[in-house]
Structure formats: structure tokens, C-alpha cells
């Protein structure tokens, strides 16, 4: 295993892995399980991230995750109805008119309410960190490249949407480094002029460069076709993707009716594949050096799906462990199956091929100086 040549894993495999772990995390509110899952994801990122610009800034995602948790807790403290018996402290309560009966601002803050908000926030933060990990590990440009031709336009929009965060993080880091090199102060004053405007300008510049590059490569040109056939293709694609979205939501959301999930997903998939086939016929595009999908890709995506499957089994076998009791207060425990899921989630730290680590990452430094 250690003799493998360094190469980049197919970005789709990383995304499947991350989505699988996200699905696993969505099954539980047990903070211990979630923290172990997050730590497993962090381990994989630490072992297998590249030196690419988007592969930096996991700490930014962690800060964002902590912010999500904090917002959740603060809102619950201020607005939530506190029904626990363990009162932590009492805030001054705002008297509301009778029309707003049931809404409470301030008042007693119970440990049970705060912990419920904390658990929920940790789950949301875990999902966020999973997406962040996929963004860091997968190369967004190669992900776009490996999409089927018919959904290319859709894929551009999705890729742009998914890579907004890493692009902003990267721009921010570059500009901060450049400011440091120029010995510009890091104070609050001049933050907008010094950081915010350059970041936006940077993003705009790069979008223009990307658009020019795509234009010069003949992107967006295809055979002329009748209006009706393009309408059929578009309707099939949109309907299919919509069906897949509804189906996935119904599958993952525990409260949705079971009958909604699988049929909608299957029908959506069939319709989407039809649309892709139809649309793909009018787009002739070749890919230069396509990313291979080999054993490592299968293994990594299987880890994500496996972690999700184990958690789904756990929610059927031992749901009390996945939803720890707050009334009465109980310590959350790490169950055997969730521990197994975390172990499976961590396997790509070894299964994925190693990445090439350059001793001195010259590129980013040079870019930073230029900026």
C-alpha cells in the first residue's frame, strides 16, 4: 500500500464519501458520535489533502461550524421555550401581548434546553464540515470535467455554488498574506478597503478569466436543434433532478413518509438519465485525460456509503443511543455501531492514494507575492 504512486483521487469519490458521512451524521444527535465522526473526517483531510489553493482552510470551516453552534445556542437561550427542570440562570423576560402567546423572549434558561440546542448545532456543524472536507479534498475543476456533457451547464452552476466558500477562503488568505508582506496593519480600520474589496475584485477577475477560458475552448456551442426537442430535454432534466431531490430528502429525513422516498428517487433517476441521454446527443465534447475510476475510488466511496449504512442500521437497532435523553439528563454514549461507522469513515486516510507533497509550495507563495 505504501508503494502506491501519488495521484489525485476522482473528485466524485470524495463527494460520495462526504455525502455518505453527512447522511450518517444526520441520523443522530449524539454529540459524542458526531464529534468522533468530525474527528474522523478531520483525520482524512489531514492525511489526504493536496497543496491546491482550495485544500486549505479547514480551520475556517471549523470556525464557521462553531459559529453555527453558537448561533443555535444563543437563539435557543433567547427565544426557546425552556422546559427543563435544571435552571442554569434567569434572563429578564420581555412581556409580549396576548397575540404572541406561546412566544417567549428571555426568562429561565435550562440546561436541558441549552444542551438540546448544542446537540442540534453540533449535528448541523458536522454536516457543514463534511461539505467542507469534500471541498478541500476534491478538485472542483476536475469534478466539472467529469460530469456528463448534457448536465454541463447545470454542473457549472452547481460547481460555482459549491466552490464559493473555498474560493473566498483562498482569496482571503492570499490577500491577508499580501497585506502582511506589505506590512499593512491588521486592525479593524481599513478592513473593507483593505480586504473585502480586494476579495470581491479577485473573485470577479477569476470569474472573467474562467469565462474567457471556457469561451476559447468552445464551451457552450452545440448543434442547432429544434425548440421542441430542447424543451423536452430541459423538462426531463429538471423533472428528473427535482424527483431525485425530493426522493433523497424523503429518504434521509426520518419523519417523511417512507413510501415517498424510494419510488420518487427511482422515477427521478430514470427521468434524469433519459434527459441526460437525450441532451448528450447534441453535445459533442471530448475530455482530455479523463480521471480514472479505479479501485481506490470504489473503496473511498464505499466507505462513505458504508458509514451511512451502518448508521441507518444503528437507528433501527439502538435508536436510544443516537438520540440521547435530555429529560432526564443522561450522558451521551458512543455506541458500538456508531464507532464502527466512524472507523469506516476514517479508512480513506489509508485507502486513498497518497498525495504529492512538495517540500516548498512555491506556487501559492508566488501568487501571494504577486497579489
Amino acid at each position: 500500500m505504501s508503494e502506491r504512486l501519488p495521484r489525485q483521487l476522482h473528485p466524485g469519490a470524495w463527494w460520495l464519501w462526504a455525502i455518505g458521512i453527512g447522511a450518517a451524521a444526520s441520523r443522530t444527535t449524539n454529540p459524542i458520535t458526531l464529534l468522533v465522526l468530525v474527528a474522523a473526517v478531520g483525520c482524512v483531510v489531514a492525511f489526504r489533502r493536496t497543496d491546491a489553493p482550495w485544500a486549505r482552510g479547514f480551520s475556517t470551516y471549523i470556525k464557521l461550524a462553531l459559529l453555527v453552534i453558537a448561533i443555535r445556542v444563543v437563539f435557543r437561550v433567547l427565544f426557546g421555550s425552556q422546559h427543563g427542570t435544571t435552571i442554569l440562570f434567569t434572563l429578564p423576560e420581555l412581556q409580549l401581548p396576548d397575540a404572541a402567546a406561546g412566544v417567549r423572549i428571555g426568562g429561565q434558561v435550562s440546561l436541558e434546553g441549552v444542551l438540546a440546542a448544542l446537540y442540534d448545532g453540533i449535528r448541523l456543524a458536522t454536516l457543514l464540515l463534511c461539505i467542507g472536507a469534500a471541498n478541500m479534498l476534491a478538485n472542483p475543476k476536475r469534478l466539472l470535467k467529469s460530469l456528463p456533457p448534457a448536465v454541463h451547464e447545470l454542473g457549472v452552476a452547481v460547481t460555482v455554488a459549491l466552490t464559493v466558500a473555498p474560493q473566498l477562503i483562498e482569496s482571503g488568505q492570499r490577500i491577508r498574506r499580501a497585506r502582511k508582506l506589505r506590512n499593512a496593519g491588521s486592525g479593524r480600520r481599513g478592513f473593507v478597503r483593505g480586504v473585502a474589496i480586494p476579495v470581491l475584485e479577485d473573485a470577479l477577475d477569476r470569474s472573467l478569466v474562467l469565462a474567457a477560458a471556457m469561451d476559447s475552448r468552445g464551451y457552450g456551442r452545440h448543434d442547432p436543434q429544434s425548440r421542441s426537442s430542447s424543451f423536452v430535454t430541459g423538462a426531463l432534466l429538471l423533472g428528473g433532478v427535482g424527483g431525485v431531490c425530493v426522493g433523497v430528502y424523503a429518504m434521509l429525513d426520518g419523519t417523511a413518509p417512507r413510501a415517498l422516498g424510494v419510488p420518487t428517487l427511482v422515477v427521478g433517476c430514470v427521468v434524469a438519465v433519459l434527459g441526460i441521454r437525450l441532451g448528450g446527443r447534441r453535445v459533442r465534447r471530448t475530455v482530455y485525460r479523463p480521471d480514472p475510476w479505479r479501485g481506490a475510488e470504489w473503496a473511498v466511496s464505499a466507505c462513505g456509503v458504508g458509514a451511512a449504512a451502518v448508521m441507518f442500521v444503528a437507528s433501527a437497532v439502538d435508536p436510544a443511543n443516537l438520540y440521547p435523553s435530555l429529560q432526564p439528563l443522561r450522558w451521551p454514549e458512543l455506541g458500538l455501531l456508531p464507532a464502527l461507522a466512524a472507523a469506516i469513515a476514517m479508512l480513506p486516510a489509508r485507502l486513498a492514494p497518497p498525495v504529492a507533497v512538495r517540500p516548498a509550495s512555491s506556487v501559492s507563495r508566488d501568487v501571494a507575492v504577486a497579489a
Partner: protein, 332 residues
């Protein structure tokens, strides 16, 4: 990564004393309240299995949920909306209801209120927001696949007025009288269904008040509650406990078809159970279910090995990532 761990550890440590503290002072007792201050709490498990249980929470209470607490009844809210009641005495179990969000209207605990000697009505307010008047009655009845117009009230009529007292009426607006189903409005045939053998009746009705009922072992078929109206305007409620272990027949007040909640009942409560003459007359009318109401069926749940192992695992993984990141940073 370390910081959230530390935060969790601090929160956990600061509350460790509270985790172990006992819930309430044990002043509750089985059966309806004997004074006009305590809140009589009726728990009807319906299809869940466990029968009808009656307890008295010593008053005064600050809310309907407080009454549950004071009656020593374990209940759980859903995790994300902690204003509802999701489980009572561990029912419905985690296999049927995850209690992550609010339970669906097809299977939930309905909250019923009544004055002493009155009729049940479905509460317009949540149990957490309502302050029950002293001496009133609260009922929790599990509604499984019932439409909103056919919700089952608890299978035990609100007990009669404590002798020598005036029952406190419910606050106006708490209960819409027109929409309040009662135990005896259904036109049932005048026949009393009794499925238990007479020999098993004597086994459980001799239980003295105050003794917690032992939990039912294993899976048991649900109880059958039959409300009948004999043509004498007196209601007969027959409750057959799990596998026919408990059978108590009570004569409920006659004012059950009335929509007004302030009419004092005229009928006195008498029992026809063959063995109840040995029990004190004030509380022997309470049908006793077979569920230990104070047990939430979740075990002890102290700071155990699984918790420590989980924290250690998360910490070790986070530390590993840190070391790897540091080493790579030094390489660059």
C-alpha cells in the same frame, strides 16, 4: 478541535452533580388525590399496553409538566422541540418513536383536563404553559391513528369531588366544551366486557396504594378499554389490564354528558370489585396499570465507559490530525 471538546467537557462536568440527583421528593401516591390541592394525573397507555394508571401529584404545581414530575412519572420531550411530551414512562419506545422532532398526529400523547367530578376535555393549551387549578385532574391518553374528532379520552372518568370541598373550575378558554368528547358519549350496547378470569382479579386489586406496580415483563398485548352506557345514566368503565391481570369496575359520575364543567356530580363512587373491600375506600377505585411510571426504560446513564471512550476516541483522532497537519506545515 480541542476547544469544542473542552467546552463539552466543561458543560458536562458542571452538571455532573445534577445528573445524579433524584428527580423529586417522593410524596406522590397511587390513586386520586385525597385533598383539594393535589393534581390527579391519569395516564392511559391505550394501544401501547400498560393500562390506565392514576396518581396524585402533591400540589400546588406550576404546570402540567410539573404535575407529571411531581407525580413521579418519567416523561421525555422530543429533542428538538422540548415543549411537547413525546414519551411517558418510556412509551412509545425508541423503536416506534425516535423523539427527535414532534411526534406525528397519528401517534402522540393527548393532554386532557377536567375538574374533579367533571368530564374530560381536550386541553387548548400545552401542558408546559398551563397552570392547572389546585385539585383538578389531568389526563394523558395515547392517540394512535385517531382523527382529531375521535381522540380517545383517558379510560378513567375524572374522580368524584373530595368530600367536603368545592372543586376548582377550569379557567375559561382552557377547554372548548363543544369539542370535548367524554368517556360515555358513545352509544355502546349496554353490556360490560370482562375478559379476565375471576381468579386473576384478586391477585392485583389487593395492592395497597403507594406501592409502585412492577413493570411488565416482555411484550404484552395491549389493554382493552370498554366504555359502556347502561340505560341508567350511570357509566361503567371496565379496564382490562395487560393479559387480563387487572380488572376494576367503577361507577363514574352521572354528569358525563353535560357540557358544563362546573356541575358537581351527584353520584358517589363505589366499587364493585370483589376484593376491593380490603383496600382503603378513598383510593381503591383507581385502576392500576402494569407499567412502572417512574421508569423511563433508559437505564441509569451515569458517566460510564462508553462516554469516556467516545470522548477519548474523538480526542485521539483530533490530536492525530493536528500532528499530521503540523508535520506537513513544517515540511513546507
Amino acid at each position: 478541535m480541542i476547544r469544542p471538546l473542552v467546552a463539552v467537557a466543561v458543560v458536562a462536568a458542571s452538571s455532573s452533580l445534577l445528573f445524579a440527583a433524584p428527580a423529586t421528593a417522593d410524596e406522590w401516591y397511587d390513586g386520586p388525590c385525597t385533598d383539594n390541592v393535589g393534581i390527579t394525573v391519569v395516564i392511559d397507555f391505550q394501544e401501547l399496553g400498560g393500562g390506565v394508571n392514576v396518581r396524585c401529584a402533591p400540589g400546588p404545581v406550576t404546570s402540567g409538566l410539573d404535575a407529571l414530575d411531581k407525580a413521579g412519572i418519567a416523561w421525555e420531550p422530543p429533542l428538538r422541540e422540548p415543549g411537547f411530551v413525546c414519551r411517558i414512562a418510556g412509551q412509545p419506545g425508541p423503536d416506534r418513536e425516535a423523539c427527535g422532532v414532534t411526534p406525528p398526529p397519528s401517534a402522540y400523547w393527548g393532554y386532557w383536563i377536567a375538574p374533579r367530578g367533571g368530564a374530560w376535555c381536550y386541553s387548548n393549551m400545552g401542558a408546559g404553559n398551563r397552570v392547572p387549578p389546585p385539585g383538578s385532574v389531568e389526563g394523558w391518553s395515547f392517540a394512535l391513528d385517531k382523527s382529531s374528532t375521535r381522540l380517545p379520552p383517558p379510560g378513567f372518568a375524572p374522580p368524584a369531588v373530595t368530600p367536603g370541598t368545592t372543586p376548582n373550575p377550569l379557567s375559561p378558554g382552557e377547554c372548548s366544551a363543544s369539542a370535548s368528547p367524554t368517556t360515555t358519549t358513545s352509544p355502546a350496547p349496554p353490556a360490560t366486557t370482562t375478559t379476565a378470569a375471576p381468579t386473576t382479579v384478586a391477585a392485583t386489586t389487593t395492592q395497597a396504594p403507594g406501592n409502585p406496580v412492577p413493570p411488565a415483563g416482555g411484550a404484552a398485548p395491549g389493554p382493552t378499554t370498554t366504555s359502556t352506557s347502561p340505560p341508567g345514566a350511570s357509566a361503567t368503565t371496565t379496564t382490562t389490564g395487560v393479559a387480563g391481570t387487572t380488572t376494576t369496575t367503577t361507577n363514574a359520575p352521572t354528569s358525563t354528558t353535560s357540557t358544563s364543567t362546573t356541575i358537581p356530580p351527584v353520584a358517589t363512587t363505589t366499587t364493585t370489585s370483589p376484593t376491593s373491600t380490603t383496600a382503603p375506600p378513598s383510593s381503591s377505585v383507581a385502576p392500576l396499570g402494569t407499567v412502572d411510571l417512574g421508569d423511563d426504560q433508559r437505564g441509569e446513564g451515569g458517566f460510564g465507559f462508553a462516554t469516556a471512550a467516545g470522548m477519548a476516541a474523538a480526542g485521539a483522532l483530533a490530536a492525530t490530525s493536528f500532528v499530521v497537519v503540523r508535520r506537513r506545515a513544517r515540511l513546507e
